[in-house]
């Protein structure tokens, strides 16, 4: 893979994600002020000292944005990766095994999906202890129902192909069939879904924070920052738009990279060329 072959859109996406990761890793070094430090007046206008101005408590928005990248990025990424691993594994097992296993998994999945995600999350998070791991796991499990649906559909298409039958005739186990025969042939649609799900999980985390059940104050996270500053919009203060823009930009960057990966996997020699 030569660097020159990466299209410009993918570069924009990569740079955006790299910037967010850089902020997350080196937050204490590059942030001009502390995460929870009150440095001036409420909703102070942006100037040379405070690049994005100050928030509803007089904290520096730029600094909070940099610190917020940590929680937002790590929680959303962890939740998406876990939800994908879980969803793909279960859906592929269901598709390959069929019969009772498939029925049990699929009906349980339907059961989960029949409850509105947000309400489910609110109930579960209100009952369980307030902990970051719990938050990630709840988000992951709820999201994995969607992944399961897609995963089962694409895996069923591939599982009936003759090369899978040939592998069965050879005596291969379920793990080989799932990871070596089916997964490489279903990567394209799953990757596309990954980009979409990642963006959704940032938004979902923001929603939860907005409702007070996500990241707990005073820790900064982008969704929570929108919530803190939303009242300012009424007075024409744009403080809430800054974290909002950051969420949108990250979501777009992730999708730019995924689009490129998608094109690469589907145009691979021997790729099925679809999706």
């Amino acid at each position: 893979m030569r660097l020159r072959e990466i299209p410009i859109t993918a570069w924009i996406g990569i740079l955006g994600i790299a910037l967010a990761c850089f902020c997350a890793i080196f937050a204490p070094l590059i942030a001009p002020y502390g995460e929870t430090e009150v440095v001036g007046g409420v909703w102070q206008e942006a100037d040379a000292q405070f690049f994005f101005g100050l928030d509803n408590l007089g904290r520096d928005i730029l600094s909070r944005l940099i610190y917020g990248a940590r929680t937002t990025l790590s929680v959303a990424l962890a939740a998406t990766v876990i939800s994908f691993s879980l969803g793909i594994l279960l859906s592929f097992i269901a598709a390959v095994s069929g019969g009772l296993i498939d029925t049990v998994f699929s009906r349980f999945n339907d059961l989960m999906m029949s409850i509105p995600t947000l309400i489910f999350a609110l109930v579960v998070l209100a009952v369980l202890p307030q902990h970051l791991i719990v938050l990630i796991l709840v988000m992951a499990v709820l999201d994995s129902t969607r992944v399961y649906r897609l995963g089962r559909a694409v895996a069923l298409d591939v599982a009936v192909m003759e090369f899978v039958e040939a592998a069965r005739l050879r005596g291969e186990g379920t793990a080989w069939i799932i990871f070596r025969e089916i997964l490489p042939n279903t990567l394209s649609p799953l990757l596309a879904e990954f980009g979409l799900r990642f963006a959704f999980s940032i938004l979902f985390l923001s929603t939860l924070s907005f409702l007070g059940l996500g990241i707990q104050p005073p820790a900064a996270d982008w969704g929570g920052m929108v919530k803190d500053n939303k009242d300012g919009i009424i007075f024409g203060i744009s403080a809430a738009l800054v974290p909002g823009t950051a969420i949108a930009a990250l979501a777009i960057c992730v999708n730019l990279v995924v689009d490129w990966l998608l094109k690469r996997t589907s145009s691979l020699k021997g790729g099925r060329g679809d999706a």
């Binding site: 003759e162 090369f163 040939a166 069965r168 005739l169 050879r170 005596g171 042939n185 145009s267 021997g270």
Partner: protein, 543 residues
Amino acid sequence: MPELLSVRNLKIEATSYPPGEPPKCITIVDGVSFDLQKGKVLGLIGESGAGKSTIGLSALAYGRGGAEITGGEVSLNGTNILALGKTGIRKVRGAHVCYVAQSAAAAFNPAHRLGDQVIEASVKHGLMTKDEARKRALYLFRVLGLPNPETFGDRFPHQVSGGQLQRAMTAMALCPNPELIVFDEPTTALDVTTQIDVLAAIKHAIEETDTAALYITHDLAVVAQISDDIMVLRYGKTVEYGSVQQIIEAPTQDYTRALVNVRQTAREEAPDQSQALLKVDNVSAQYSNGFKVLHGVSLHLCKGQTLAIVGESGSGKSTLARVITGLLPPSDGNITFEGKALTPELKRRPRDELRRIQLIYQMADTAMNPRQTVRDIIGRPLTFYYGLRGAAKTARVKELLEQIEMSNGFIDRYPAELSGGQKQRVAIARALAAKPELILCDEPTSALDPLVAEGILKLLMKLQTESQLSYVFITHDIAIVRAIADSVAVMHRGRLVRFGPKSQALSPPFDDYTDLLLKSVPEMELGWLERVLTSRRMASAGN
């Protein structure tokens, strides 16, 4: 006599988009010229990719899938139809020139009745009123020998058989009284026993209505029965163009000669031994919904020999292979392999039992994982059964590539980068890698062009003598059976109708079905179709 269709220096090009490379222009058809007179049939013959379908469609001034007619002239009754423009050409298509597609099942709209679809073009073009069109359709259904012609048009496409659908499509093409019909492999997807009926119907209908036709096929024996002239194509160029008689009896080009002589080999059968490698004893099988697909089949195969299983689609021949592999456990009866009973269920079979029986599929495309290289495809059984890794595995893969007559350069290719014949060879190598004793071949050559198929058959025969392999060869092609089999099993509707050494099975006295099957195989000989039809008529008159 003036020419009906005259094609001069036809050139058709298309842009291809190979992965990872800039798009390039490829020439599909280059400098092809021919003439066709009223009421005559020209056969276009060649292997896949020869450009025969593309030429056929050019008679409708149509380019499929990005193909564009970039040079030459196609004149119908003296008018160059390429210069007609969009509205002009619409008056020609479906009225003066009609098209019969290969897969009638895919070409009919399943939501409409056959009768409405058959008359649609004639009514739309304003050639006749609905009633007149219906009358003509009824007449055509009769000419084409369709059952219950009065009510045939009221049926939906899924209610009639494949052969009937293909005849209905011919009726659709004939309905507007066209001057020219393009038949694009109309009988290729049909069983031999059905093919002969459709062929006879088409020939009769063409003669009856005095229509000219372009008949596209890859089977020289078929085209010899129906055409007046034949054009042999290869790589988009004309190889040979002449009358049927000249092409069949005195071909001038090597390629044509190879086509005419394809599969005229026959091998001596080996004697039946008492010790059978595979013994299928009174086996029945059914699907989980209770549908019975095999009824008490018994046969056996000796070591180092080839058993051919013949029958039309739905006869249960592939199901028998699935039962032997364990994919569909038999509901009744036993299968023994080297004297020991085979575990009926695939999941319970020990690895060594799996290794000794390998399967080769009809479609090599779908039988290989498109995301694995040749090295992985052939190498996996080596790792799986023999624990070979690294350099030892690579060396063995190279050895196997040599055995299937492919160079080492193919080792890192993906299946999409191989031709159809090469793919089938790799599939054979994958089976060989397990060092099996028995290979089940499920129509391994029926998706291939005749010359490529012959190469595969020769390879299989060579491997058999080299390593004492036994084959169960499933096919519908009697010519292949003659060429490779030691013993023959004929299947019909899930039952074994005939089994024995080749010399016995393929010589009289025949049972009714085997007789029909043998007589339906087109022979590379002029007047074969008439002969068969006459003998049939005499037989039915005699009854």
